[in-house]
Every structure is written in C-alpha cells, then in structure tokens.
Symmetry: C2
Subunit: 354 residues, 2 copies
DNA sequence: ATTGTGCGGTAAACCGCTTAACTGAGGCGT
DNA sequence: ACGCCTCAGTTAAGCGGTTTACCGCACAAT
C-alpha cells in the first residue's frame, strides 16, 4: 500500500505538507503542489479513509438507516436512496444503506462504533425511539419524515396537506362528489405511528370536510392483495363512490385489479388516484395509474443536504415540505352517470367473476 | 468517548489485556475477565471500529456493490440485500449497499480507500470490468452471478438450466406445445452481456430443442410497458402460441395486462409463467402470476458466506447454483381448444379496446 | 538597524486499537 | 535445587493519517 509517507518522500517534502495539500487546509506553493501531485500520480496514491477517519474523527460516511424488516425496500425507497447517495457523493461523502431495526437497538450499536458521521433516518414514526438514540449518541442526523415533536430537528418531508388538497381538487375538477380514501392500516402495530399514513389521513379528513363531503375511509395495508380486498369493501360499503384515492401505491394496483376483476371499467366506472407513487409502479397498472408522484429524488437530496449542512457547520437548512405532484395517467375521468336507483348493478357488473 | 485505556485503567490491567479479551485472541483468567467486563459495563464502553480497522487492517465491513444506475433496485434486489446483510451480521460483519457504476471506476475508488474488507458483486455481466478492478486491488470478493470465465472465482448464481427445464416441463405437463419466450433485450447495450438474460435464453433454446419444439423468442426490456408491447407481438407473430414464458417479472405484469387489454383471458386463452420473480411482484398481477420464484434469500446468504469464508481464511465454499422454484399462481392452465382456423378471433377478442 | 509579521514548510504528538516480543511467576521433571 | 516450559499479563511499536506548535525567511514598517 502506498502511503502518504511514500508520496512525501518522492516529492521531497514532509508528510504534513501532503496532508495540507490534500485537504486544502493550508496554502502550498505552486511548485511543491506540482511535485506532490506528480508523485501521487506516479505512485498511484489513494488516501486511506480509515486512517483519516481515526485522526480527524470524521469518517465521511453517512448512513441511511432503513428499517428493512418493517418496511419493504421498494422502488420508492430506492429513489430516496439513490438520490441521497448522489447528493452525498457530490460533497465528498459516502452514503451507505444500513439496515437497522425500528426499535433503535441496532442503530445504537451502529453509532457506538464511530463509523458514521451522521444519519439520514427514513420511515420516521410520529414518536420514533430511534431519535432518542441518535440524540443520546450526539450523532448529527436528518429526518426524511417528521415526528410529532420536531423542535430543532432538521427534517424534510412530503407536504401531505398540499398533496391531498391537489388530489382532491383534481377529482373535483373532474366532477366527482363521491370520494373514498383507501388509507393505511393504522391498526397494524408496525404502522400505528407511521407518519405518512397518519398525516395523509388527517389531511384527507380536513380537506374533504372543507368541501362539505362525507368522510369515507377504508383502512388497507401496503400490498396488492389488501388493495383488492379494499376495492371489494368500497363496492359493498360505498357503492355510490365514483372516485377512489389510494394512499399506498401497491394497494392502488390491487384496487384497480380488484375493480376490473369484478367487471368494472377504469376510469369509466371508477376513477382511481394513487397518492404516493413512483412512475414505475404506476406503469404496472392497466390502465396506467394517475398518481401524485412521490417527490423521492427531491427529498433524498434535501435530506442529505440538511445533514451535510450540520456536519460542515454551515447554517442549517430550514425544514422543507415538498408536495407530490399530479401526474396524469389513465385512471381518472369524469364520474359515471348517476344510477337510476338501488343497488350497484351497472352495465358490466354482470361479468363479475368473484 | 470512553476508550480502551479507560477500561483498562478502571479494571487495573493493561490495554492489551482488554484487547485480548475483546477479540478472544489470548486467554484471560476468569477473575480479570470479570473485572474488565464490569469496567466496560460501568463505563458503557463501545469499541471504536475505526481504530480497530486501522490497526488490524480489517474494517469488518463488506460492500454489496450495486449498479444503481443501470439496474433498478427492485424487490428482488432488496431480497438479496437483506438476506446478505443478515448473514453478514451473524458473523460480526457489516454489509452495506454501495451504489457504484457498472464500469468499475467508482468501484476502484471505493476499494482504494481501504474501507471495505470485501465485496459482494451483483448483477454480474458475462465479461465484467469490475472483476479486473477487484483482482487488481487484491480485494476478496464473491459474485452473485457468473462471468464466462470463472476460474477460481467464488460465486453463487441461479441455476438457469434447471429453472428453465422445470418451467417448460410445467407447461408441458399442462399440455402446452406452443411456447414463446419473452426474453431480455440483449440489444440494449446496458444488458448486452447481462448473465441472467443470456443464460436463460441459452437454456431455453436448449430445453425447447430437446422437446423438439420450435424456438420462439421475443426480446423485451425490463418494464411493464415493454411487456405490453411484447404481448402484442406475440399475438401478431405467434398467434398459435398457448403459453408464454416471461423472463423479467415486470415485463410479466405487462404481458398479462397487455393480453387482458386486448380481450384475452388469462389463463384460459394464454398461460403465462414468469421466470424470475418474487412473490410481491407476482401478487401485483391479476390473476396472480404463476412464477419460478427467484432464490434471492438463498443466494444473498450464500454469496455473503462465500465471501466471509475467504476473509476468515476458511476453505472456500464451492460455487453453488440454486434453481428458482415453481410457485403456482393462477396464470397457468391447459391450452385453449385449438382454433378451427385462421386469425386470432376468439370470444372476447371483440372487446379489444386498443 | 530593528522589529514585526505573513507565509511556506517541518517536526512530532496524537487518534484508539492490535500485536509481536518480552517478563515473571508458578509447576514439573530429574 | 536446577533448568525448562506454560501461561497470564505487560510493554511498546506501529497502522496512516491530521493537526498543533514552531521555524526560518523575505519583505514592509518603524
């Protein structure tokens, strides 16, 4: 392994000078700079991050702590991660994905080792035990998501209010009055406290109330299966509904499938609007989902930036809320003609198979 | 920060003794062991991994190098990663996901820093430049996937031959004679050399030939969109086909959607068998996909083990090939009754919309 | 001529841990 | 009683950088 010493020797300077040049922490004359750079080139020098980390107490590694067990790592998360990693690299940091449990014990383990300078926390719960762990350890961190209590916590998050407002407005503009939200399943202990679900549901209640519409919510977990079941519940419990908002993208796939399966046409019979969705998932539905596109790339980047600001001692980035933007697909249209009367029997419903 | 010195002091021993105890590298009497352990407890000592890494030249970190740009990080990959991470943790290693480019320059960067003890390489190409990089750097590595030339490379991979054999047999047992493979798009430069696609196609040619069936292959990239298009091509180019094997799981979703969209019933009119698929994706189709389940958990674990064996100097794990196992869904049934004659016109085809 | 003083550069003390070489106190065979 | 081995512990030399204190020098101000 070629070390700084080797470089210094070959360039005829002291190793401190090499270090100063490398870190740009003290000026170096053009002549010596050239000699050193040549020496580094000749020798193929690469600075050892471990030694640097030990001496400077900065590893230049930041971790994205992801609860791999509780939350599946799907395409949305993948977006967060890659954009965050890119942002980190631009500032000479490494972003690595670290699978940790939601309870914080593995996180504490990780922090104790002194391996990471900071943490980007994902899938934040409203009252997240991991935050205590981070604060106790004194490790800088940024949240993608928000807790209830966010005094002085640097965070970025989806602007759920705007997102839901825009979504509902879109449906209203298409003439819909009968809406249903297929929300998250807050009874599931894993998600009881899960920010996006709680906040979306809250926003929905608020927005719908402001339109003087009835609040109709069906809980549903984050799978296609569950989405199908939820679709069935819509048909029996709210047959008058003409438009369905779906919080989870995988559930949205199930909702579309479920409705089609029972002989309904999308968007003729029902409009479906998927709330937090990436294009890849939207494309998996037939017809392609109209969606509020999760601002994954923006948030990943902003989250990393917020953390790096702290690490570099710059003035902190103010908390930012980014709404999901409407991306028209083919699952939203005007409401079907109001039924004459009674049951859900409609043209097409005859073909129901299950 | 509480260091080993503090612990040693409090326990009244030298810091070397503490180190020996911690690493179990030299015997320590029960008495001193107890004193040291108590001291560590009292002080809340956590060993500093960075210092350890510098001194021992082992970071106990292994990287899973993932070409995040070229390959989307989907559910399958997520499976590989989490199972590999689990296996690593069991052996006191950390597995982190490192996004690197496919060309090897970022990988070289990473290795130069001395941050990782070894690398698990994913999405291996038949002739992968990253392997040269790893060998030059002298970094131990294991492949999930295979190159063409695999002299002495420790690797694990999918057993494509068995997988395809089992898949074709399954369809044959259901009475199908007219098969099509919707394969990968090897014309795409990003995938020209991509092992799974090349190997699956090869295996298919072989297997189908052994059954004396015609070789019918349609290239298709890894998206739902492309799957829909491929379905259309099947209808026009091979209208006699009754069963379709699909290499990529997202394409499989598109194939099902595309066929249904043009008024065909699955599995009545066409059987669809998705070759390398995870249950989550299979569930997104309606009806649920019959699939060959990607052995992600097994391979992630085996890959990590193979690498750790090298790192620990144990005798190497022999290369292992694991087939994908058949998981019946609802997209395979017997072939439709042979048409009387002519075109693809069938009951239901009237409903075609696009 | 004297005194700052700004600047490119050096020497050396760490950073927290590992590990090879060494020490010293029993235990044992003869 | 002597040497010899074993074994728990200790000493100290790194690992490859960073960083503080210091040094000599040229140039400007006094």
């Amino acid at each position: 392994m070629v070390t700084m010493k080797d470089v210094a020797q070959r360039a005829g300077v002291s190793i401190a000078t090499v270090s100063f040049l490398l870190n740009d922490t003290k000026p170096v004359t053009a002549a010596t700079r050239a000699r050193i750079e040549q020496a580094m080139l000749d020798l193929g020098y690469r600075r050892n991050m471990v030694a640097r980390a030990l001496a400077s107490r900065r590893t230049h590694i930041i971790a994205m702590a992801y609860p791999a067990l509780e939350h599946r790592f799907g395409m949305s998360t993948s977006e967060f991660f890659t954009s965050a990693a890119e942002a980190a690299r631009k500032d000479d940091y490494h972003l690595v994905l670290w699978p940790v449990g939601n309870d914080g014990v593995e996180l504490r383990e990780l922090l104790g080792q002194g391996l990471v300078d900071g943490v980007v926390l994902m899938e934040v719960q409203l009252d997240d035990p991991r935050i205590d762990v981070l604060q106790q350890a004194g490790t800088p961190f940024a949240l993608i998501g928000r807790t209830t209590e966010l005094e002085g916590l640097s965070h970025v998050d989806i602007d759920f209010d705007t997102t839901v407002e825009d979504a509902v407005r879109h449906l209203r503009e298409h003439g819909h009055h009968e809406l249903v939200l297929i929300s998250g399943d807050l009874d599931d202990p894993r998600f009881h406290d899960y920010g996006p679900w709680v906040r979306t549901e809250e926003a929905y209640r608020r927005v719908v109330a402001s339109y003087d519409l009835p609040i109709r919510i069906i809980p549903c977990s984050d799978t296609t299966q569950a989405g199908k079941a939820a679709a069935a519940r819509v048909l029996t419990e709210y047959p008058e509904a003409t438009a369905i908002l779906v919080l989870n993208e995988y559930a949205a796939l199930g909702v579309v499938a479920g409705l089609k399966h029972t002989g309904h046409d999308i968007p003729r019979d029902f409009s479906v609007l998927s709330l937090l969705t990436v294009p890849e998932t939207a494309a998996m539905a037939d017809p392609e989902l109209t969606m509020m596109r999760t601002p994954g790339p923006e948030l990943g980047q902003l989250g990393t930036q917020a953390l790096l600001r702290q690490l570099e001692g710059d003035d902190p980035l103010p908390p930012q809320l980014v709404p999901a933007k409407l991306c028209p697909g083919a699952t939203v249209a005007g409401p079907r003609a109001p039924r004459s009367k009674g049951g859900a029997g409609r043209r097409g419903a005859r073909k129901a198979r299950s």
